[in-house]
């Protein structure tokens, strides 16, 4: 059996009023790949993420995930199909505990109903204790188990980034979308984050698509890069090829930089 691609985007266009944020976007991601989506600020990277995760509906085009069309599907259904993501500006459930942040995501498969919850039936206790255990395991995998009962907002920055990943993993994704996971981190932290993403990818058998500005990280982590500028793909290929592509250098550094 030929394995089907995890994610296929075909001829995706997205305009906001007169502004074409993304146009003619095509991309295929195979199982187990780590693909980087890079480009200057405002190139449309996050817009692509928002279309994949269902926040925006593409103006035209088609998105297919593991053979099923998901174009314009509600975000929570996209996630239940197996796509989880993190956010560029961290979006944790700030007032809730670290453990609750992760446990929340088990909601669609909690295994008990409202009546079980209110009456505290044995079924509630069984499933709730299973969920707690699984959430603690995820926290341990990301080194957050000691902070389980702290409020998410009280974690240091790097730990908040890790918690976002733990929370995304709680949705049992097949595809993980990471929106600038190393934004605002120092070089030592970036190295740790690269290790962490590699570890998580192997442990949870994931396919990863990430947006990143830190070239060091992208080069170390990604097997393939897609470069976006003004909503269009200007280059794609191996990191080494991209690094010397004149169009890419021009997009990042301005005309004449490639000379």
């Amino acid at each position: 059996m030929v394995s089907m691609p995890v994610l296929v985007l075909e001829d995706i266009d997205k305009s906001f009023g007169g502004l074409k944020a993304v146009s003619g976007f095509n991309m295929t991601i195979e199982k187990g790949e780590v693909v980087g989506l890079i480009g200057p600020n405002g190139a449309g990277k996050t817009t692509v993420f928002n279309m994949i995760s269902g926040i925006y509906r593409p103006s035209s085009g088609k998105i297919t995930f593991l053979g099923d069309e998901i174009t314009g599907m509600a975000p929570y259904l996209v996630c239940q199909k197996g796509i989880a993501r993190t956010f560029q500006n961290i979006r944790l459930f700030r007032e809730n505990t670290v453990l609750d942040n992760v446990m929340t995501i088990f909601h669609p498969r909690a295994g008990y109903n409202l009546l079980d919850a209110v009456l505290r039936t044995p079924r509630f206790k069984r499933h709730e204790s299973a969920i707690t255990g699984q959430a603690m395991e995820l926290l341990s995998a990301l080194g957050l188990e000691d902070r389980a009962y702290d409020k998410a907002m009280n974690l240091p920055y790097g730990a908040q980034r890790r918690l976002e990943i733990a929370r995304a993993l709680a949705g049992r994704p097949r595809l993980l979308l990471l929106d600038e996971p190393a934004a605002g981190m120092n070089p030592a932290e970036v190295v740790k984050m690269v290790e962490l993403i590699k570890y998580v990818k192997e442990k949870f058998d994931l396919t990863v698509l990430l947006i990143e500005h830190q070239m060091g990280m992208v080069m170390k982590l990604c097997e393939r890069l897609v470069v976006l500028d003004f909503g269009q793909i200007i280059a794609s290929g191996l990191p080494a090829e991209i690094r010397s592509d004149p169009l890419v250098l021009e997009a990042y550094l301005g005309k004449g930089a490639a000379v």
Binding site: P75, Y76, N96, L99, I105, L114, L144, G171, Y199
Partner: protein, 339 residues
């Protein structure tokens, strides 16, 4: 584990019985007269209704200015039911009409909640405010369709079946129900929606469903409180369920601290007593200054303690023990990345 579980249960039961016994003893000793008994009962009714709004606003973050409308719907429908089907089977009648009150409020909440819960905070406030006004006008005029409702002249004739014992038991059950709801996957979904609706949605939570469940449950509790009110105070009047009453519920939830069951319960009781104490302190001449004083209390509280009196904290027994036996509560420092 098993032992400590029973331990906390025994403490809860003991505290409850002591509170009940103290009130009962004071009553038989004549230290609580009819008047203060009524105030106490009103405080319990307020508690039940405010816990409903606590679910909607405190835990799910959905700003509602129409809570008294559901309280009123519950009061009128339960009251009407008892009045019409009045019989010798008092206990059964009482139970059924309380359920009718809660169900009517809950159903109406479902019907209006589905369209309006799509709105964001401020707009939702305006929509619920509008709904509250519609219900108030309805209560003023519905006697033209059903004469027994009494319209603007008020409704009487509901059998007075509720007493302190009933209110105490129902309030206790409601507190347990709200606690169990909040500390379940449903409660977590609610707080996730409150904290970040987009993140909740993208991470697989059906946010519309979650908001509707919270709204219907919260309004059904308002309806239950209304049903209690109708069976405790012989005269129902539309002015008891107007915008100012919604504001009362909102004040209690905000002053107590959003996302705190303890805060809502304590503030609800304290609020009702404060209003009555002010009645004595101010005397007949200055009674209208109550409005000034409680507005001032609100302003001062918002400035001094914007997070509310309890700011999301709970007293022990309102927080169930965590299920995990993997780790205990630790205050250690961050252990770094896992690999």
């Amino acid at each position: 584990m098993q032992k400590s579980k029973w331990g906390s249960f025994i403490i809860i039961a003991a505290v409850t019985l002591v509170v009940y016994a103290v009130v009962r003893t004071l009553e038989t000793m004549g230290l609580i007269d009819q008047y203060w008994q009524r105030v106490l009962d009103q405080a319990l009714i307020m508690t039940i209704g405010a816990l409903g709004l606590s679910i909607i606003y405190g835990f799910t973050g959905q700003f509602s200015l129409g809570h008294a409308a559901f309280y009123g719907l519950g009061a009128y429908s339960a009251g009407l039911f008892s009045k019409v089907y009045n019989s010798d089977h008092n206990l059964l009648l009482f139970m059924v009409s309380l359920l009718v009150g809660a169900a009517v409020a809950g159903l109406v909440a479902l019907v209006i909640g589905l369209p309006i819960l799509r709105l964001r905070s401020d707009y939702l406030g305006i929509a619920t405010l509008g709904f509250g006004i519609i219900v108030k006008v309805g209560m003023d005029n519905f006697n033209k369709l059903i004469p027994a409702l009494g319209g603007a002249t008020g409704m009487s004739g509901t059998p007075q079946l509720a007493n302190f014992d009933w209110l105490f038991i129902v309030a206790l059950l409601v507190i347990i129900l709200v606690r169990n709801f909040v500390y379940s996957t449903y409660g977590r979904a609610c707080t996730a929606v409150r904290e970040d609706e987009i993140a909740a949605d993208v991470l697989g939570i059906n946010t519309t469903n979650t908001k509707v469940i919270a709204f219907v449950l919260g309004c059904a509790l308002a309806g239950l409180a209304g049903g209690m009110y109708a069976h405790r105070y012989p005269f129902l009047h539309p002015s008891s369920f107007d915008f100012l009453k919604s504001f009362d519920f909102l004040l209690v939830v905000v002053l107590g601290g959003l996302g705190s069951i303890t805060g809502t319960v304590v503030t609800a009781v304290a609020w009702v007593f404060l209003l009555e104490v002010l009645r004595f302190v101010l005397g007949q001449t200055f009674i209208d200054f109550r409005g000034v004083i409680y507005a001032l209390i609100l302003i001062i509280a918002i400035i001094v303690r914007p997070q509310g009196i309890f700011s999301g904290r709970e007293i022990g027994f309102l927080v169930p023990k965590p299920f995990s036996t993997l780790v205990g509560r630790k205050d250690g420092v961050n252990a770094g990345t896992g690999s």
